[in-house]
Symmetry: C2
Subunit: 205 residues, 2 copies
């Protein structure tokens, strides 16, 4: 049990790096087993087929993602009482963490699976959808809290505002990769931060 999970985790580690670098289709099982140091039978013992590997990868990635967000915005809410200040602080902390990654953000598996939709089964697409909805709820509840105190200078839908955070994250990752400029993602997050601050700035200021 203990050893099995460890091997499984090692496969997932290798696979995640490969998929984020080359895409899912370009990642061969032979390559994974070579780097992990197991055999083909060993691989198929842990995963029925490539689709199940994809599912496991995605689920693990999303869980980890959620944990990171919990941590960052949890800390931000500890440091700032005001929900707006906490949110702005959280965005800044996130931006700084992303800026400190030596090679930039490794890429988002959700985006990878999205750009290769039909290559995966419905279950994976559903996991993807749930992930996006979780992000919406996470940031949406923050904006609701903010709006209980601050009046936005423009009436915007909370869900759409929450989605904007995911949008900038996903879009920023892609732009960073396209431009080969890792600093773009954290910069874009800070631009979003400015926008949000502007939105809730009292009209007199």
């Amino acid at each position: 049990m203990r050893k099995g999970e460890e091997t499984r985790a090692r496969i997932l580690d290798v696979a995640e790096a490969a998929v984020l670098a080359k895409g899912f289709g370009a990642t061969s099982i032979d390559e994974l087993i070579a780097e992990t140091g197991i055999t083909k039978s060993g691989f198929f013992y842990h995963f029925r087929d490539k689709n199940e590997l994809a599912r496991a990868l995605l689920e693990r990635y999303i869980e980890n993602d959620e944990r990171i967000y919990d941590e960052i915005f949890g800390r931000a809410h500890q440091l700032a009482d005001d929900p707006l200040q906490a949110f702005l602080l959280g965005l800044k902390m996130l931006s700084e963490i992303l800026a400190d990654l030596p090679n930039g953000h490794p890429g988002c598996l959700v985006a990878v699976m999205c750009t290769q939709e039909r290559a995966f089964d419905r279950e994976i697409q559903e996991i993807n959808r749930q992930a996006a909805l979780m992000w919406r709820r996470r940031f949406g509840s923050m904006f609701e809290e903010i709006m209980r105190i601050y009046r936005p200078r423009e009436a915007l839908d909370v869900d759409q505002l929450a989605d904007m955070v995911s949008t900038v994250l996903e879009g920023g990752i892609i732009l960073s990769k396209a431009l080969k400029q890792p600093e773009s993602l954290p910069q874009q997050l800070l631009v979003l931060r400015s926008f949000v601050r502007l939105l809730f700035q009292p009209a007199s200021a």
Copy 2:
């Protein structure tokens, strides 16, 4: 000459749809030639290998993209003298066009190639980079024009502001796909529009 280009275009049409739906790796040449109605030899007469197909696909996609933006923002600048109003109008027109697509945005090839980086050669990555830089110049020059008249309520870097448009487009496409909600992309564009309007709104308003 005439016929050759037509066949080539037909291959590219079929390939583009397949790649956007399934990803590049999951799109087989056999499948393409079956749907196009040519033979394998015919395919390899037009494209040396799959990489050259990718390059041709990407180049055609970007050219088309540029043409659409030229059209929309050209028209917007005809309808509105003021650069800010023209930009806001352009964003709205773009949003409406995207909202009218029956199945939503089919996906961005630049993003596809980004999420599968190492699967392609440097030439493709360079084309991708140039595309992102073109977007930056396009929207950047608009923001410069705007800033010659309007003072932003917050000092933001023009390049980063320009990149924000690309970010929201790319991120919106991904979020739309993940959520299976085609209307998200146009909505996100309108949120960005609100942000930009807020940014250049006189402090007194």
